[in-house]
């Protein structure tokens, strides 16, 4: 059974110091239910990565079902690090596709900015290998630094050759009122940014933010009666590979990106060339470059080439639009909510509601949510209804 999105909602990604986790979540969930014009759903699936360590809060299913006025509903969290939003969408998709639920609310939420600095790095480290990575001083950003330096070494690249990914993200994010950092990046600023774990700098990596986003899913037969233009989920897949870089036969090949993308494209009956835009997990520019290679739109060692000319080829009017509302880099990365922001943004694109960031004639958009450096990868393809 096909599954469609019939309602979306999100709050701006910010430092929401005056709002609690449940408040943020309830706001986004209520917006999505109102957008779908339905009062209740059969199931509520939460994407949340760090509630346990950022907020000392688990059992978000029960907490948020009550906050949303959905007493008794089936509700629980799906967790896969920063892919939590993507795997929650997968959970909702499976429930609706199987017929187990007629209607599903998938809600991503993260409240990250109540803790700062080294304490937040420690709290985030629960998604690494505790016994081998974290205990040796690793952070996800440090592991990204290891991956990026090896890539630059193998293919003879300079730091400046990655700047276009961040410039494009901020150019698009500057026109998105939901984005956390709406500043533009000038060419040349990227290589001067303070290092976090070199070569990964402040302008290379996505900022954590507080946010919540939600989508309402129903089976596609039902969808046609609810809204004039339901967006269909044409592909849905999750794949995993080793949590640690050290266990991978080839750390520069994101095997789970390749696998989940191939499954998704196969299910949708599409080729990479038929995708009109990609919302990739651009937490670090190296993840974008390697994802483009694993997806199959670049040869090995050449994914970075899409960053050329300040990312002209990946702008909304370019050959391969990326991060069309700013991506993780400029919109911000609210952990377990990020994968749902991608879904909401794709729906806006497919409905022609993207304003200055509109991709012309967008019909098929791939969204991808990554935990770790490709350890868990959730990929979905969203499409306009057939004419």
């Amino acid at each position: 059974m096909g599954v469609s999105i019939v309602g979306v909602g999100m709050v701006p990604v910010r430092e929401h110091w005056s709002k609690g986790l449940a408040e943020l979540a309830a706001e986004a969930g209520a917006l999505a239910l109102r957008d779908a014009d339905i009062g209740k759903v059969d199931a509520l699936y939460i994407g949340n990565a760090y509630g346990a360590t950022f907020n000392q809060q688990t059992q978000l299913g029960s907490l948020l079902a009550a906050a949303l006025g959905l007493p008794g509903v089936e509700a629980y969290t799906s967790e896969a690090g920063d892919a939590s939003g993507g795997v929650a969408l997968r959970t909702g998709y499976l429930a609706a596709a199987s017929g187990a639920a007629q209607s599903v609310l998938v809600l991503g939420v993260e409240k990250a900015t109540d803790i700062v600095g080294p304490a937040r790095w420690s709290a985030r480290n629960v998604s690494l290998d505790a016994e081998i990575e974290s205990i040796n001083g690793a952070t996800l950003t440090a592991m990204a630094g290891l991956l990026m330096r090896r890539y630059m070494y193998e293919f003879g690249l300079e730091l400046s050759q990655f700047e276009g990914f961040s410039i494009n993200a901020h150019r698009n994010g500057s026109q998105n009122e939901f984005a956390m950092y709406r500043n533009r990046l000038r060419s040349g600023a990227f290589i001067k940014a303070p290092m976090i774990a070199d070569p990964v700098s402040l302008f290379d990596s996505a900022p954590d933010g507080d946010g919540a986003a939600a989508v309402v899913l129903v089976n596609s037969e039902l969808a046609a009666d609810l809204v004039p233009r339901p967006i269909s989920i044409r592909g849905s897949a999750v794949a995993t590979e080793s949590l640690m870089l050290q266990d991978r036969a080839d750390p520069l090949a994101l095997a789970a990106v390749a696998k989940s993308t191939a499954q998704c494209l196969d299910q949708a009956g599409l080729t990479p060339a038929e995708l009109d835009a990609l919302e990739l997990h651009d937490a670090f520019t190296i993840l974008t470059a390697l994802s483009l290679e694993a997806i199959g739109v670049s040869d090995r060692g050449r994914g970075w080439e899409w960053a050329r000319a300040e990312g002209a080829g990946i702008a909304p009017n370019g050959e391969l639009p990326l991060s069309t509302f700013g991506g993780l880099k400029s919109r911000g990365n609210p952990g377990g909510a990020t994968g749902i922001y991608q879904a909401v943004e794709a729906v806006r694109q497919l409905n022609g509601q993207a304003g200055e960031n509109q991709v012309p004639d967008a019909r098929h958009i791939l969204i991808q949510s990554i935990g770790g450096l490709g350890a868990t990868v959730a990929t979905h393809i969203l499409s306009v209804p057939p004419v």
Binding site: P118, E133, G137, T139, L147, D198, Q246
Partner: protein
């Protein structure tokens, strides 16, 4: 699985024989400037993926580094304090790699 009497976990089975010498080369490295709280007092420090002679990669800090680090540098394993654990400050020992003695 031992390495000169010292045991350490890694790999899929989380323990393997490093061949006694525990030498390798730097596969990649980074200078960690913004660490987790447990490592705040040590920053900045080098973290590396070391390719052991047997071919496995291992995640570890570099220590006793004097000058620049390069991919391909020869390194050898040493036992060092990693951090302290909990309120009682129990010392956590583990492995790091230092530039190999010529």
């Amino acid at each position: 699985m031992t390495s000169g009497g010292a045991e350490f976990p890694t790999g899929v089975d989380r323990a393997y024989d490093c061949g006694g010498g525990a030498r390798g080369t730097v596969f990649s490295y980074t200078l960690v400037q913004e660490p987790a709280a447990e490592f705040e007092s040590q920053a900045p420090f080098y973290l590396a993926l070391v390719e052991l002679e047997a071919g496995e990669l291992i995640t570890a800090q570099l220590t006793d580094v004097d000058g620049a680090v390069e991919i391909g540098d020869a390194v050898e394993m040493v036992t060092r304090k990693l951090t302290t654990d909990g309120q009682r400050g129990m010392i956590v020992y583990g492995y790091k790699f230092r530039p190999a003695m010529k």
